[in-house]
């Protein structure tokens, strides 16, 4: 999941009776599973919530390139290097695609990026963790893209048309990334040296909990979650999605021959689900507030890229203008 704690502006969800005729018609459309398109009327809260969610998602794709950029120059073989480069390229593409979806809501890409750089906009907390060994490139693909897919598969049915369509396209590529990530780990566990196997377990130990945090806090009490669900921007609760992720991931973990850093993780026959330990929510909120291991580095890198690239973008604009004038004069 690349969007966490998206503010909806709602204190509680309105009933149909409390709505204006426009709001009511809108809600009825949503309830009937009709997609909302850019030119349709929508409540301001719906628009703003979507801008926040889609921009968070886009920022996450872009910031998410950085922990991979940390290893792309050190990938161990030509095949792994090419795979990682292709994954990074896809992510830049997803970012562009999502910013475009966001702009259909009247938001401006540069303004939203500015908010990111000022610390006013969020991106997925997972990217504030460092990638410390090569197996992290496998674990990120498997766990992080895996968690993102669980969320995004559901988001393919989200009520806003352009976002839903973006998700359909993005999901295909991310499933591919996830399989590649898992394969990196599997190859190292099956044919690797003791040191390589240790790398894999170490990567899982560090990324397991942060991956579970990607689904966001418990949402039973959150008015934001309830409003997002009513608008069908969100289709399943954070806890439901987290459980789905754990249920599908634990057998893969066992197949690898690795363990999770959670002594409470075990199959519950009665529930038909895995039980798992409590997430360290203090850590989650600390990271969200900017106190993760890499928050500063990630934002500084992005800010520096955009600031130092200002003259390049200005030159491109100036040149395009000159070309246009020349064409008109000719």
């Amino acid at each position: 999941m690349y969007a966490q704690l998206v503010e909806t502006g709602a204190k509680r969800v309105k009933s149909l009776d409390e709505m204006s005729p426009e709001e009511r018609a809108f809600q009825e459309k949503i309830d009937a599973e009709v997609k909302i398109e850019p030119k349709n009327w929508m409540p301001e809260g719906y628009r703003k919530t979507l801008v926040r969610q889609i921009s968070q998602h886009a920022h996450s794709e872009v910031v998410g390139m950085l922990p991979e950029g940390n290893w792309v120059t050190r990938a161990p073989t030509l095949k792994r290097k090419l795979q990682l480069m292709a994954k990074i390229q896809d992510e830049a593409g997803h970012g562009l695609y999502l910013y475009s979806a966001m702009e259909t809501l009247g938001a401006d890409r540069d303004e939203e990026i500015e908010k990111l750089h000022e610390g006013k906009a969020k991106y997925s907390s997972i990217f504030n963790y460092p990638t410390l060994n090569w197996a992290d490139m496998g674990a990120v693909g498997w766990l992080v893209d895996g968690a993102a897919i669980v969320n995004q598969v559901v988001l393919q049915r989200t009520s806003y048309g352009p976002y839903s369509r973006a998700m359909i396209r993005i999901c295909k590529e991310e499933s591919f990334h996830q399989r590649q990530g898992y394969q990196i780990l599997l190859d190292m566990m099956r044919e690797g040296t003791e040191e390589q196997k240790q790398m894999v377990q170490d990567a899982i130990n560090r990324l397991w909990w942060p991956a579970l945090m990607m689904f966001g806090p418990h949402d039973d009490e959150s008015p934001n979650s309830q409003q997002s669900m009513a608008w069908k921007i969100k289709r399943k609760s954070n806890d439901e999605l987290r459980q789905m992720f754990i249920d599908q991931t634990v057998p893969q973990l066992e197949f690898l021959g690795c363990t999770a850093p959670d002594p409470d993780l075990k199959w519950n026959e009665e529930r038909g689900h895995y039980d798992f330990g409590e997430i360290n929510w203090q850590e989650f909120y600390d990271v969200l507030k900017g106190n993760g291991p890499c928050n500063r580095e990630r934002i500084n890198t992005r800010k520096k890229a955009i600031e130092e690239g200002a003259w390049v973008r200005e030159a491109a604009v100036a040149y395009a203008k000159k070309q246009k004038q020349r064409a008109e004069a000719a």
């Binding site: 120059t73 073989t77 030509l78 090419l82 390229q89 690797g192 992005r302 690239g309 030159a315």
Partner: protein, 254 residues
């Protein structure tokens, strides 16, 4: 030098140049001036490393001493690397990055255009696929040189500086040595005189349109990459790029 030895040497030059420039572009991940550029840079890098792999695979077959493409890329030290000096120069600002790319792309394009007709079928096949990619690289980098050269006052200054900084490494692209001569004679590599003329012609044309001044043709040139005498940069590039293969020499699978 036999023809086979010359071909091996020549393939390593092609492979190493693609590999090192691809590596330099990888360093820019997350640091490009715009998201569109982020995507384009990684795309070009991906093409280059993919081409490097094809050249390495063929070179490994000819060398036939048990080393595969990965061993050639990740286990040779700087003095065995045969890349053009231009490709190992640091990214610096975007003018240098694009200037380096343009000078290389122009050389790469004309070289591949000739290799497509190589008497060696394997070379011709690899070159045919690469040429499609490099045609796009050249179009893109030419456009950027024009944009930056003829953009704002600042971009013009930076682009001119980039041309001046990089110029001394361009001589190597069009100065043939024995290997180049042998490859041309064997009907594999481009005719050195033709390559020089094409490269100079295109560079002159693009720089002119970009309102930039090239240095004189007889400017002093820094040579050596093709015989394994590099600038100080290459050692650091390899230290980073080869880290895992060097730190875990017993690992056979990654």
């Amino acid at each position: 030098m036999t023809q086979k030895e010359a071909l091996t040497e020549y393939l390593l030059r092609l492979a190493d140049s693609d590999m090192i420039l691809g590596q330099r572009l990888c360093e820019l991940c997350g640091k490009a001036p715009a998201l569109e550029e982020e995507m384009a840079l990684m795309n070009v890098a991906l093409d280059l490393v993919g081409q490097a792999r094809n050249w390495y695979e063929y070179a490994a077959e000819l060398i036939d001493d048990g080393r595969d493409a990965d061993k050639l890329a990740f286990r040779r030290d700087a003095h065995d690397y045969r890349n053009l000096l231009l490709t190992e120069q640091p990214n610096e600002d975007y003018a240098v990055t694009m200037g380096r790319q343009f000078f290389y792309d122009a050389w790469h394009y004309f070289t591949l255009k000739s290799l497509v007709n190589a008497s060696d079928e394997r070379v011709a096949a690899i070159a045919a696929k690469a040429l499609k990619e490099v045609t796009y690289h050249l179009r893109r980098s030419s456009e950027w040189v024009k944009r930056l050269g003829d953009g704002t006052e600042e971009s013009h200054r930076r682009m001119q500086d980039a041309v001046d900084i990089l110029w001394r490494f361009t001589g190597e692209l069009i100065t043939p040595d024995k290997t180049d001569q042998l490859m041309a004679e064997a009907g594999i590599g481009p005719d050195p005189e033709q390559l020089k003329e094409d490269w100079r012609g295109l560079v002159k044309e693009v720089l002119e349109e970009a309102t930039l001044t090239p240095q004189p043709d007889d400017a002093w040139m820094y040579l050596g990459g093709k015989r394994g005498e590099h600038t100080e940069h290459l050692g650091f590039i390899l230290a980073e790029m080869q880290f895992l293969q060097r730190a875990y020499p017993d690992a056979t699978t990654w």
